[in-house]
């Protein structure tokens, strides 16, 4: 681009024009800043916990339907964006959030007392210069956190699995960490002594997170905890779901996988070596289903049927034993977060349905039998978090930072609260 002379002598006008264009362009760097609003509600002891769009963990009293005044973590400025749901175990709330200015990211993993909302790890949680997007996992006294690349380290790893010691009074929080081949957006799923996670490089990791004896090889070389890997070849952004010995996940090529983790773990034990699988094993009941568009939402399974949602708004019911499609339906807008299964009463009939959040607006009610649309929870705002059903209400965190709740049966709205300031809304 040149600013050539065209006869005008108003050089300062041209300079001002360039300046404004530059300023507008640089202003667009805010596109790199995470906005959050994807955190789903979690209920514990009649309190609903959720990360708001400013990066504060807040608590709603389900009896009074008001935010608990003065209960917030952090107390003042938020962490930026909280994408994952919190984990509540033994009165302690675990979660993570991060913010980025340009490519300079600040993440924090926190452990907060459920009663007073104060950090149990001193003034604040564990700070890492990285993006913290996925769900945390907990195995006994080990908190497992998947990260993106660390901004202050240059060891070539695009992500890590951190194992943090959550034993009360522990001196050093970080027990070990394993470098990974990509950013972890999917979060960590724990099943027994095994943790499963996936990366944006398209690899699923099965990692032994059992406590090691002092001097064990796993303590000296944490990477030896990797039991097996599966490389799908395409980015995996959404969470994994482990049900009855199988792991289900979708990738950004629109493929949905079922892997038999029991068989893969057993194979490793018998071979006493790491297996880096790249192919599915049909003999062990594994399959691949093509959803036709990016799959980000966690697949949900019930009664031999897997419900898969894609970013183009399509929902597919898949036979769990064969991987064949049973029915397909679609809603308006992207489906980013996991649908949930719930019971609703229509007249005298109780029916099972899927509540599917739409990135455009609303939460759609879809029949599990044939994919028919049964109704809609009108949020009037985009939804990128999973809804929660609790005591006859469906709670939804909308992208504009409000929490709305509806009657499960007739889908009418019962309440709305702004999670930033606790004000009632419509």
């Amino acid at each position: 681009m040149t600013m050539s002379n065209c006869g005008s002598q108003k050089w300062w006008l041209r300079a001002l024009g360039v300046f404004f264009i530059m300023a507008a362009t640089i202003g667009c760097v805010n596109d790199l800043t995470p906005h959050g609003g994807w955190s789903s509600p979690v209920v514990s002891d009649n309190k609903l916990l959720i990360g708001n769009v400013e990066g504060n963990l807040v608590r709603l009293d389900l009896v009074s339907a008001n935010l608990d005044s003065g209960w917030s973590y952090p107390r003042e400025d938020g962490l930026g964006a909280i994408y994952s749901d919190v984990l509540v175990v033994d009165g302690v709330i675990y979660g993570s959030g991060y913010t980025c200015r340009g490519d300079d990211c600040e993440g924090e993993i926190f452990a907060v007392d459920n009663i007073d909302g104060f950090s149990i790890w001193g003034q604040s949680g564990l700070s890492l210069k990285t993006k913290l997007i996925g769900q945390l996992g907990l195995s006994d006294k080990t908190l497992l956190v998947g990260t993106s690349a660390l901004g202050d380290e240059d060891d070539g790893a695009d992500g890590y699995l951190y194992a943090l010691d959550v034993t009360p009074g522990t001196g050093s929080i970080v027990k070990w960490r394993i470098p990974l081949d990509g950013n972890v957006w999917s979060g960590v799923v724990v099943e027994g002594s095994m943790a499963y996670l996936s990366t944006m490089a398209g690899t699923v990791y099965a990692i032994n997170v059992a406590e090691g004896e002092p001097g064990d090889i796993v303590d000296q070389d944490p990477a030896s905890r990797i039991i097996w890997k599966f490389e799908s070849g395409n980015a995996i952004a959404g969470p994994l779901n482990i049900v009855a010995g199988s792991v289900y996940f979708g990738d950004l090529a629109g493929k949905v996988y079922k892997l038999n983790v029991l068989a893969r773990n057993a194979e490793v034990k018998s071979a006493e070596a790491n297996v880096h699988g790249e192919k599915i094993d049909l003999a062990n009941g594994e399959w691949i289903f093509d959803a036709g568009a990016w799959v980000w939402a966690k697949p949900v399974k019930e009664d031999g049927t897997l419900f898969v949602s894609a970013l183009d708004g399509s929902i597919h019911a898949v036979d769990d034993s064969t991987g064949n499609k049973i029915w397909s339906a679609s809603i308006e807008g992207q489906i980013v977060s996991s649908p949930i299964l719930f019971d609703r009463k229509r007249g005298q009939i109780r029916e099972r349905a899927l509540a599917v959040p739409s990135g455009d607006e609303n939460v759609w009610v879809i029949s599990v039998i044939d994919g028919r649309e049964l109704g809609v929870f009108v949020t009037e705002e985009p939804v990128k978090s999973s809804p929660l059903v609790h005591e006859g209400n469906l709670y939804v965190h909308t992208l504009n930072g409000q929490l709305k709740w509806f009657s499960v049966d007739d889908t009418t709205q019962r309440g709305c609260i702004d999670l930033k300031d606790g004000a009632q809304c419509n």
Partner: protein
Amino acid sequence: MEIFGILWQELIMRPMINSLALLYQLLFSNFGFSIIVFTILIRLAMIPLTVRQTRQMKKMQIIQPKMKAIQDKYKGKSGDARRQMSSETMALYKEAGVSPVGCLGPMIIQMPIWIGFYRAILQTMPSTPEGMANLSALFYSWNPAISAVPFNSQFVGLSLVDLVSAASLPWNYVLPVVVGASMFLQQKMTTNPTTDPRQRQTNQMMLWMMPIMFGAFTWQFPAGLAVYILFSNIVGVVIQYYVGGKQPIELFGRSFLGTEQTKAELIAQRAAEVAGSNVDASSPKESDQNGQSEEIQRKDSRRGDRNRSRRNGRRTRRRRNKGN
């Protein structure tokens, strides 16, 4: 306003994002190559506009003495005289075949491309979940590159999506300097010599200020955009060299490239300057312009004489009538 958003999305953003993604797949999954090839294609597609801009600039340059004469003629006047000046200026434009928008048009067209490209880089390599979700909606359904997301943003040790200021040494210093230098070179090639001292001062100001501003701003740009600007400038220099008739590039008192003929012209121009001629910077082109200027003055003088004789005639007639 919504319609503008849709048009922006459909006419600028989606074609750019899909082209970048497709090139990424074709060019060995290398986003740096994708940006470079895309830049070259855009600059090639804009050659007709560049040629038009160059011609318009030359014409504008040629009529500058006439413009100045008109401005001098109406200097300090207002009201009807200003309107008369505008109409004379427009008539001059028309006569010379100059469109006032003609030389600004290509520049204006480049602006949305440039801003769109910046946004396309960020949106094609999103770093947040919402950015990633938005990206999926921007892909054409037929584009096979959709399954290659996320794209590898590494290129010769640079992360194309990260800010230049955050790049490792020496890139964080080299890129802004190289971008500024390439812009300086391009600016120098597109700036026409002028006889008007104010215009010359403006040109000098732009010649230095633009590269310095761009270099400074590059520091806060994603590296991918810096690569785009750099290659856009390089291609621009090459195009300008051929479109501008292979004029030699004069840097630090030496001339580079150019044909024997254009070099000879440059030497003649310098010789004229050294000779301390009363006529400012009398390059062959400017000699022409000065010649034209003299021609205008002669015409003006003849016109003035005609007007004077008409006025004298009217006065004589009035006197004669009074006498009668």
